[in-house]
Amino acid sequence: MLYNEVTSHANQVDNVMIYITVISVIFLLGITFTMLYFVFKYNRKKHKQASDIHGNALLEITWIVIPTILVLTMFYFGFMGYKGIKKIPDNAFKITGIAKMWQWNFEYPNGKKSDTLYVPSGKPVEIQLKSLDVNHSLYIPAYRVKQDVVMGKTNYIVINPEKTGSYDIACAEYCGLNHSMMYTKLVVMDSTDFNEWYASLDTQKETDTGEK
């Protein structure tokens, strides 16, 4: 599940995930074992008389300061893994994505239309996202990215396909009856294959929807 190596962004997201998870697990285990230790050590059977300790300023400041620093580092790494993703590179290949209940359509600059998202590898792609009815969300789990498609508004998403292959695209914003069927594929091809597909005269709707 982690490090599928399909894009460097996905790896970066996984790094952030690992970072937060490791710190979290340390905290969780620390709290749990301390609690269990106290419950055994100071069990009333052995420890009849409790001592009232009202607090300890130093200790309390420590456990405010250290977690604050740690969460701020988490914030920072989360921010670093996010900051570039909305920037549209000059050489981006522009595609329009249109969502409607319950299917995806993609329109290319030369007028080609497809319900599968074909893209060349090694080149950033900008997808302008529009909806024809309700809200949807374009979600590519393998790339660790998603963008809501909001009715009445144009959003965009930038992806950087690297490895060729075929990846799931899901709809992540609830959109009614067949929301869970609103899948298509992202197909990343090397540039010669892509150019061949792109140049082929067939401007008819592509019917190849991947597996499902």
């Binding site: 709290i31 900051k83 992540a172």
Partner: protein, 548 residues
């Protein structure tokens, strides 16, 4: 209480009421006694909890394998909407404040009742009317809403189901919640017994007080949102609906400006109960009382400023996303402080891990997981991936069910003897909480893995690669059903056949343990004069306590 006397056994509030007729249904549903109202709420809230659980079980059954299993997509979508609406508006928001707050807030501050007893009764009636609205949609043409409990526009306008009834229900339930909050704030300010300064109040009261402010300040937003929808629909003014030139994102802002603070309405009262139970069963004072008290206020305050973390992928500007992510991390700190203080309170205590304490231990573990996974969602890079996936479903069940739900049961086991004057079977209760813990992790932990692997939420069907994890989760749901049946069954049995409870079975020292179980109509024979700190266990000398 100052002089440590126990009021002599007299008539309990079950024998004496505020209505003319002393018994029968009317003596309950028109009673202004805060204790009877608490029990009215307990009955209604538990009823809806069971309804919600049954819907949850049916959903899990549907998801046991890919493809249709027991229902179709349309029904599934209605199930999760109804499940969400019931669990949020009818169980978890009123849950602890309306049941245990009503019953114990006046007693713990040494008052005879809340400041506005009739308003209190009205708030229960509004709860019932709201519930009726939520349920009538079941029987109307069009059927119950299928929008999810968030009612996002424009889908909620386009669907043919009865969304307006459900929205109306949320509107009315909002008023019920506001009245409860208002009542609690006033009661805390005006009705404390002599000697009970703010810093002599039990932490449960601090938590209810902070919650009251959130209820009063945040809940009207949902009312305003509702009114705007009505204006939009009747006069065709474009506010939210893009077809009329409105902005659906504005709706999301309005919705979360209420619903995120509502998350704190859900968790703060639970935190108050945790402090009570840990102090009593460790028989020592809370470590860092002031830090715990102030952190309730800090949570209530910062809780207003983080709503847009639900909208990182909706097209929010990068700057806004960064600010909201930052604030989200800040709001995590006061919760962490509380957890540390609770664990430190066990240090050098004299710990008797009875049933309520075991529920609290389960809470600390499950709620910590809920909070820590919240950090993953507050972080921008990971949230873009995990937003609207099962990771979120796992996260909020850990917080709401593992957090507040667990403490609902902790509170029930802690105060059951006081409320009903009966003891329950502790062995069975302990089996119940143990099984609950195992079931919980089996049911919800797989959801984190599902989410990270890209399984979106609100899905009737799923790809084959998700099968194993969904299957495990459904097994957990069955275990959960067994665990809850044991827990609830045990308490119902105790209600009928339980041994008589003493006034102070656990050796607690807050005021409710100084009066008989169950309490008399006006709680105290004489309003106490408070001289002790809330968790000063030296008071136990000269008090009778224990279960034998």
């Amino acid at each position: 209480m100052a002089n440590g006397t126990i009021a002599l056994a007299e008539k309990s509030f079950y024998q004496e009421g505020t209505t003319k007729r002393k018994t029968g249904l009317f003596s309950w549903i028109f009673s202004t006694d805060h204790k009877r109202i608490g029990i009215l709420y307990l009955t209604s809230v538990t009823f809806f909890f069971v309804c919600g659980v049954i819907l949850g079980e049916l959903m899990r059954l549907e998801l046991i394998a890919p493809g249709p299993t027991i229902v179709n997509a349309e029904t599934y979508n209605r199930f999760f909407t109804l499940h969400g609406v019931i669990m949020i508006f009818l169980f978890i928001i009123p849950g602890i404040p309306a049941v245990f707050g009503n019953f114990f807030l006046p007693i713990q501050i040494g008052a005879k009742d809340v400041a506005f007893p009739r308003l209190n009764l009205l708030s229960w009636w509004l709860y019932v009317i709201g519930a009726v609205f939520a349920l009538t949609s079941l029987y109307l043409p069009g059927g119950p809403a299928d929008t999810g409990w968030t009612f996002y526009i424009p889908y909620s306008i386009r669907t043919g189901t009865n969304v307006s009834y459900t929205l109306m229900a949320a509107f009315i339930l909002g008023f019920s919640s506001i009245l409860t909050g208002l009542n609690f704030i006033t009661t805390v300010h005006r009705m404390r017994a002599p000697g009970m300064s703010f810093f002599k109040m039990p932490l449960n009261i601090w938590a209810l007080y902070a919650t009251g402010w959130v209820q009063v300040v945040a809940t009207p937003v949902i009312g305003i949102t509702m009114l705007l929808i009505i204006i939009e629909r009747t006069f065709g003014v474009g506010i939210f609906d893009p077809a009329l030139g409105g902005d659906p994102i504005l709706y999301q802002h309005m919705f979360w400006i209420y619903s995120h603070p509502a998350v704190y309405i859900m968790i703060l009262p639970a935190m108050g109960v945790v402090s009570e139970i840990i102090a009593t069963f460790s028989r020592r004072t809370i470590f860092g009382y002031k830090a715990v008290a102030y952190s309730s206020l800090a949570i209530a305050f910062f809780g207003y400023l983080v709503w847009a973390h639900h909208m990182f992928v909706s097209g929010l500007s990068e700057t806004a996303a960064i600010v909201f992510s930052f604030l989200t991390f800040i709001v995590a700190i006061p919760s962490a402080i509380k957890v540390f203080n609770w664990v430190a309170t066990m240090y050098k205590g004299s710990i008797d891990p009875r049933t309520p304490f075991l529920w609290v231990m389960a809470f600390i573990f499950l709620f910590s997981i809920g909070g820590l996974t919240g950090l993953v969602l507050g972080s921008l890079a990971t949230d873009v991936h995990l937003h609207d996936t099962y990771f979120v479903v796992g996260h909020f069940h850990f917080v709401m069910f593992g957090g507040t739900g667990t403490i609902f049961f902790a509170a029930l086991h802690y105060w059951f003897p006081k409320m009903f004057g009966k003891m329950y079977n502790e062995k069975i209760a302990k089996i119940g909480v143990g099984l609950f813990f195992i079931a919980f992790l089996t049911l919800y932990f797989p959801m984190f893995l599902l989410g990270y692997n890209g399984m979106p939420r609100r899905y009737f069907d799923y790809l084959p690669q998700f099968h194993t994890l969904h299957f495990i989760s459904t097994m957990g749901a069955w275990l959960m059903f067994i665990a809850l049946s044991i827990v609830i069954g045990n308490l119902l049995y105790a209600l009928k056949k339980g041994k008589k409870a003493p006034a102070n079975p656990w050796g607690g020292v807050t005021l409710e343990w100084h009066i008989p179980s169950p309490p008399p109509l006006e709680n105290f024979e004489e309003i106490p004069n408070v001289t002790h700190e809330p968790y000063d266990f030296s008071q136990l000398e000269g008090m009778e306590y224990g279960t034998e």
